[in-house]
């Protein structure tokens, strides 16, 4: 019965009290396990396992790689947060992808079309992105609440529709401008007042970290506070854990579904912002795609916890970055995909095993304590 009512996010989270060394065992086991499996795979394809990992490690600590990793992690993090909001409610928002693409496109178009003083300009662009992301997600939310359409289907379909809509908008007659001599097509570049300068926080390289990394961090903190410290967050988690119990406690579940879908979409709207305002300044054909799907993997890898997601995002970003050095060493970059898959699987398997051990230990502890309280003949442990 208990399994029936737990959310899968919670089963994943384990709900283990973070006290004690034991909580460190899980991630450490996971990393060691993943490294071992990766080395076996490298060996199988004929790449020197140790050398390769060492090369990746060395590459990872180069200043420029650090910046690249941080930058990629910035948007991965936002994407995973957007997915995690849904997961907290047992909603599976596969639509983050479409939401952020549409949001980035419209925000870029608005940003390129207006002239405003610096902070206002940025604020306007971000506001538009949030609005569009939230609006697009709201469709799925409304369909679920009003018509009972599964959000899994509706978001898959809405991703495709967002692609079509985006493609229609990204046209000379509508939001796009041509760049002379280029086969690319994009929105009018956002002027300097709408750009967010990078941060030179990594020494030894000219490349700068996205200024909006601060936004990512802030969103993580906000996520934590809202989910864990507010009434709204309590209602959200309660609904995710047990819908009937939430209903009985006075939560309006339909409203919660709609609101959390909208929030998820709002955060999804932010996903494209670091790239748009920190590097591209225009939404064009080569704007990064598929971040929404990566977000699903990272959210689950980080167990829907803001800190866990941060680690997941950094790991993912690092692996993506390291594809370059592997190729330079003539190791097929596909190995990165294989490694990502293997790491995700081994990390969660390791987590699961440690978690099982912890639950058993917790149960033993509880029953020991219970046996001791009314001092009679104790149960054999």
């Amino acid at each position: 019965m208990s399994a029936k009512e737990s959310t899968f996010a919670d089963r994943l989270l384990g709900r283990v009290s973070p006290a004690g060394l034991l909580s460190l065992v899980a991630p450490v086991t996971a990393i060691v396990f993943a490294a071992l499996v990766t080395m076996v795979i490298l060996g199988l394809i004929g790449a020197p396992p140790v050398d390769t990992l060492v090369a990746m490690g060395e590459y990872a600590v180069r200043p420029r790689s650090i910046v690249l990793t941080l930058n990629a992690a910035t948007y991965f993090y936002l994407s995973a947060l957007a997915v995690a909001i849904g997961f907290k409610m047992n909603l599976f928002n596969i639509g983050v992808d479409g939401q952020y693409r549409l949001a980035a496109l419209t925000a870029a178009a608005v940003g390129g079309a207006v002239a405003l003083p610096a902070p206002l300009h940025v604020a306007l662009i971000i506001f538009v992105a949030v609005l569009v992301g939230a609006g697009w997600a709201a469709i799925a939310g409304l369909l679920k609440v009003r018509r009972g359409v599964s959000e899994v289907i509706s978001t898959i379909m809405l991703n495709a529709i967002a692609t079509a809509l985006g493609s229609w908008l990204l046209n000379k007659e509508r939001l796009a401008v041509e760049v002379a001599g280029s086969n690319n097509i994009g929105t009018k570049p956002i002027p300097a007042s709408g750009q967010v300068p990078g941060l030179a926080i990594v020494s030894g390289t000219q490349t700068k970290v996205f200024g909006l990394i601060l936004l990512s961090i802030a969103m993580g903190v906000l996520f934590h506070v809202v989910i864990n410290r507010t009434r709204f967050g309590f209602d959200l988690r309660a609904t995710g854990r047990s819908e009937p119990a939430a209903v009985a406690s006075g939560v309006n579940v339909k409203r919660m579904i709609l609101v959390s879908m909208i929030l998820s979409g709002a955060v999804a709207g932010l996903v494209g912002m670091p790239q748009l305002l920190g590097s591209s300044y225009s939404y064009s054909l080569d704007f990064p795609t598929g971040l929404g799907f990566t977000g699903i993997a990272i959210a689950l890898l980080g167990r829907n916890h803001p800190v866990g997601i941060a680690f997941g995002a950094l790991l993912w970003a690092f692996l993506n970055t390291s594809a370059g050095i592997l190729q330079l060493k003539k190791i097929s970059p596909d190995i990165v995909n294989i490694m990502q898959g293997v790491i995700v699987l081994s990390v969660i398997v390791a987590y699961e095993l440690v978690h099982r051990y912890q639950v058993a230990a917790e149960q033993r502890r509880v029953s020991r304590q219970m046996a001791n309280t009314p001092a009679e003949e104790g149960t054999p442990a």
Partner: protein, 426 residues
Amino acid sequence: MSQNALATPEAPFLRPETPARRFRLTWRTLLLALGALVLLLSFTRSVTGAVDLTSAGAINAAIALAIPIGLAGLGGLWAERAGVVNIGLEGMMIMGTWCGAWGAIQFANPWAGVVAGAIGGALGGLLHAIATVTFGVDHIISGVAITILSEGVTRFLSKVTFAEMPGGGDSQSPPVPKPEVVSLPLVGDPLRALEAERWFLLSDAAGILRGLTTNVSLLTILAILLVPLSYYVLWRTAFGLRLRSCGESPVAAESLGVNVYLHKYVAVVVSGALAGLGGAFLAQVAASAYREGQTGGRGFIGLAAMIFGNWRPGGLAGGALLFGYTDALQLRRGGESVHALLLVVVILLVAVAVYQLVRQNRTRAALITGVAAVAVFVVFALTDSIPSEFTSVTPHITTLLVLSLAAQRLRPPAANGMVYRRGQGK
């Protein structure tokens, strides 16, 4: 006051009233619905002149486009009926495309490819089963990981196999041998002649029939047969009952001596094999070579078709067909056919509005539906083609439209997605 209540003699708990009308699909209603559909399409075709609505070519293409989606959906059905969510269908399908092409080339026999494709998908399924059943990992993340993994594995394998073959490359295989294509003898030409007459209903029926009976791949026939076969196995055999019981209440199944782990394993491996078969179909029938990225998200669409079909084989086949049909229409003569579909939507909306008004007495709902019908009609009347950007999403919009019009009584297996561990029953 108690007298009236006691008028009925039986105690209520002995004869619980079953919910008044649980919809039962009978052959009669099915045939009636099909007839109405053909009539509707035929009418629209003759009004708009969009011949593709019922042309043999469109129907044939619809089937071909629906098969991989349907197979993926069937894969999803097997896994989810046993309680394992399989979002890794896409990955298993990718494995199927690669293995299908490889097997067919390696053994110079299309059927070897079909088998290899199924095995490739099954391997993905096995991995998913190990992760979710043995290790109790969350089903979604395992599925996502498997999809990522199979992209990498197939690309890597292509480099060491196809790239070395003449006509192949890092991201595509040389041409693969295809399973044989068959037609129903003797009927093709008369039907073609009849179809060309453009008579109301008669020509349309001829077109549809010809689409169904000419140039059909043997693998298509096999895939179609898998739908009733899945129904038979899952609903009519002891094995199927046990499998489904694992998805509904694994503790109950275990308490009756059913080996839950075993059944889940079998279900997920079969699920992978079916998705892999869908992949092999893509590489061997829909195309004639493996091509990286060939699946194009069909695994996810298959999953959607399964939910659309309420976790039932017939329903998911319907979902896949709807998707395949609208996709075929938009790919063939998109602007014209999709524009004609607007008229179909208008007629359907009007029918729904009338139903809401007359049968359900929901005036407000009927009014809203009616207004929507008028709005779509205005669009239909004022335009004569749909912008090309939008025709490509016809299947997606149609799916959403159908789902939001149809009353939702989705009933996923009760223990779907739950991690089950032996002896957890209380």
